[in-house]
């Protein structure tokens, strides 16, 4: 009788995990540090920082892949959770500017010019670094718990859930744009100087942030892989395949959906938290409808239902953007849209599917078959 209950660990995935970890954790930082600046091998501080940003996006994509790729719940509001995380960290960083600010006030600059005399109450905890970190992860998770509870408990599914999350993204964008929200309005939070006493302009600080991002991505990946490999992970796939059967097997599907939704929100918060000190600015433009939709494209392009696909999609699409916007800045939205259409219609398994087909020379054994009828794009 067959013994194992879980499928054999996918060795290809293990190897690609080690490979990616080697490249991002060792090779890229070394290329930044070791070769002299004029060597063709040298990776500039700017490029390394850029990769740091891509790896943040990969964490964000992993979360969406759990909810959408595995559980079939399409969320078009991941940007909101990313934004919560980013703003929490941004508030900490803004309070670290201190007397270096343009007006020399303890308050962030935007408060000075919007006539705010005293630090708003919800800013106060963010004087503390630990509060910034915890807030960046917990605020999105708590918000996702409340929102998800209301939505999933009322059995909101499929496109209806997608539309509601899109409305959420739009609402969040409106709220963050208002000066009355006391989060810097359209200008957002920027002009950060230091984190825990280290100068953000210092290349070594940025390198350390990059390495932490790479480690955070590796940890997030392992967390997601553990979830996916557990029996609960199989329930997620089962919900995607046949939700009513899951109910009649004694599970409560909405609780599982809520669970992945909250995990994804936590990952999005983590992603935002790491993004802000590396990019140096967070504005409402980065958290609205469009950025939320882009996450969906990364996952679709990389290959939904495979964790490696989410990472690959986030890094390649964003790298492609950084290359192509140099040459055709106006054309980028069309390229991105075209890419999405091509992938969804012709390569439903995304880049991962294509790579597997190339190397295996046979029909791939994808993480999940994409059903046109349910949970599809």
């Amino acid at each position: 009788m067959p013994e194992q209950i879980l499928p054999k660990p996918d060795s290809r995935e293990t190897w690609s995990f080690y490979g990616a970890a080697l490249v991002f954790l060792v090779v890229l930082p070394l290329l930044n540090v070791l070769p002299s600046e004029d060597s063709w091998l040298h990776l500039s501080d700017f490029r390394l920082n850029q990769f740091g940003k891509f790896l943040c996006f990969a964490i964000l994509a992993l979360g969406l892949d759990l909810t959408w790729g595995y559980c079939g719940v399409l969320s078009l509001g991941q940007g909101v959770f990313f934004g919560f995380g980013a703003y929490c960290m941004g508030m900490y960083l803004a309070l670290q500017i201190g007397a270096e600010s343009v007006y020399g006030s303890d308050l962030p600059d935007f408060m000075v010019w919007t006539q705010v005399k005293e630090l708003p109450w919800f800013w106060v905890p963010f004087k503390n670094f630990g509060a910034g970190i915890l807030g960046a992860i917990l605020v999105p998770m708590i918000f996702a718990t409340v929102f998800g509870f209301l939505a999933f408990r009322s059995r909101i599914k499929g496109v209806y859930f997608a539309i509601i999350t899109q409305a959420l993204a739009f609402a969040a964008w409106l709220v963050f744009n208002r000066n009355e929200t006391r989060l810097g309005g359209t200008n957002g939070l920027t002009d950060f100087k230091q984190i825990l006493g280290y100068r953000l302009s210092d290349p070594s600080t940025q390198r350390a942030l990059y390495i932490m991002t790479a480690l955070a991505l590796a940890a997030s990946f392992l967390l997601c892989r553990w979830i996916v490999a557990s029996r609960a992970g199989k329930v997620l796939i089962a919900i995607r395949d046949s939700e009513s059967r899951v109910t009649f097997s004694g599970y409560t599907p909405w609780v599982y959906k809520l669970f992945v939704f909250v995990v994804a929100a936590g990952l999005a918060g983590l992603s935002g938290l790491l993004y802000v000190p590396q990019v140096g600015i967070i504005t409402p433009a980065q958290i609205g409808v469009l950025p939320s939709l882009e996450v969906v494209i990364w996952v679709a392009v990389g290959g939904r239902g495979t964790l490696m696909g989410a990472v690959l999609g986030a890094v390649t699409v964003n790298y492609g953007r950084s290359l192509l916007t140099n040459y055709f800045p106006e054309a980028w939205p069309f390229i991105l849209g075209g890419l999405f259409v091509v992938v969804v219609t012709m390569f439903p398994d995304g880049l991962i599917g294509m790579i597997r087909r190339l190397f295996a020379g046979r029909q791939p054994e994808p993480g999940l078959t994409v059903h046109k009828a349910q949970g599809g794009a």
């Binding site: 009788m1 067959p2 499928p7 796939i237 059967r245 109910t247 004694g250 599982y256």
Partner: protein, 249 residues
């Protein structure tokens, strides 16, 4: 008596899918329910398993548990298993994983399921179920790649792993080959040694193969109950059901 439906009415905006339906099933009984299209057969199963709430009437299960007050998950846990008409298996999981997820466990909450490891006893049970449904050789195949008949058996296997004392099976042999139909009949007969089974079926030959007692449903009420011969001899049944079936053949 394991199941006792009393005066069940299901009213869809004036159309009574079930109209004062009284239906009883004994322990370890294999009962076949037949009836023309729209007679309310599937609705009856929906009411028993909690998918549809009746407008009035009671459904007692086992020792007087009223199922009409419970939701589908609770009813499943109480021991009512439901096999749907169209095969509904998890096509992206292997046969083994399909069975493993369906196995009855103390808790099916998120965290116990997340941290849960399968025990040798559980693996043994899944192995037995695989043998019962005859899918030992495809245990690690993706369920989506199985044939129609195999999917139906897999779903029956999934339901029996929940340890139901009452198994509801909706048209199990629709779309099956003759050989598969016969195997399904034997499977159901084996299973009825341990649990009560209610089967809805159209295929009269299959009904003759498995049925001891047949219930005829028409327009939402039970109109006749008895052996296949008794039912077929009943004039009213011939008029509304068998007569029509003969014309159809």
């Amino acid at each position: 008596m394991i199941l006792n439906c009393e005066n069940v009415v299901v009213d869809y905006d004036g159309f009574k899918a079930l109209n004062n339906c009284n239906f009883r099933v004994h322990y370890n009984e294999l009962r076949v329910v037949i009836g023309p299209n729209g007679a309310g057969k599937t609705t009856l199963l929906d009411v028993i398993c909690g998918k549809t709430k009746p407008s009035s009437g009671k459904v007692f299960f086992g020792h007087n548990i009223d199922l009409t007050t419970k939701n589908a998950e609770t009813i499943t846990k109480l021991g009512v298993g439901r096999k749907f008409q169209a095969p509904s298996v998890y096509s992206n999981l292997s046969v083994w994983q399909n069975l493993d997820l369906s196995l009855k466990r103390a808790s099916k909450g998120v965290f116990p399921t997340l941290f849960g490891k399968s025990t040798p006893a559980e693996r043994e049970r899944i192995g037995q179920a695989l043998e019962t449904i005859g899918l030992e050789n495809v245990a690690h195949e993706r369920a989506g790649s199985l044939s129609h008949g195999q999917k139906q058996w897999l779903e029956i296997g999934m339901v029996i792993l929940q340890d139901p004392s009452l198994l509801l099976v909706d048209e199990p042999v629709a779309g099956m080959s003759d050989k598969e139909t016969e195997q399904t009949g034997r499977l159901l007969q084996t299973l009825s040694e341990k649990q009560a089974i209610v089967v809805i079926e159209h295929d009269m030959e299959f009904v003759r193969q498995i049925a001891r007692v047949v219930t005829v449903l028409a327009e939402g009420t039970v109109i006749c109950e008895g052996t296949v011969e008794q039912v077929q001899a009943d004039d009213y049944v011939r008029e509304i059901y068998l007569g029509r079936a003969k014309v159809a053949h």
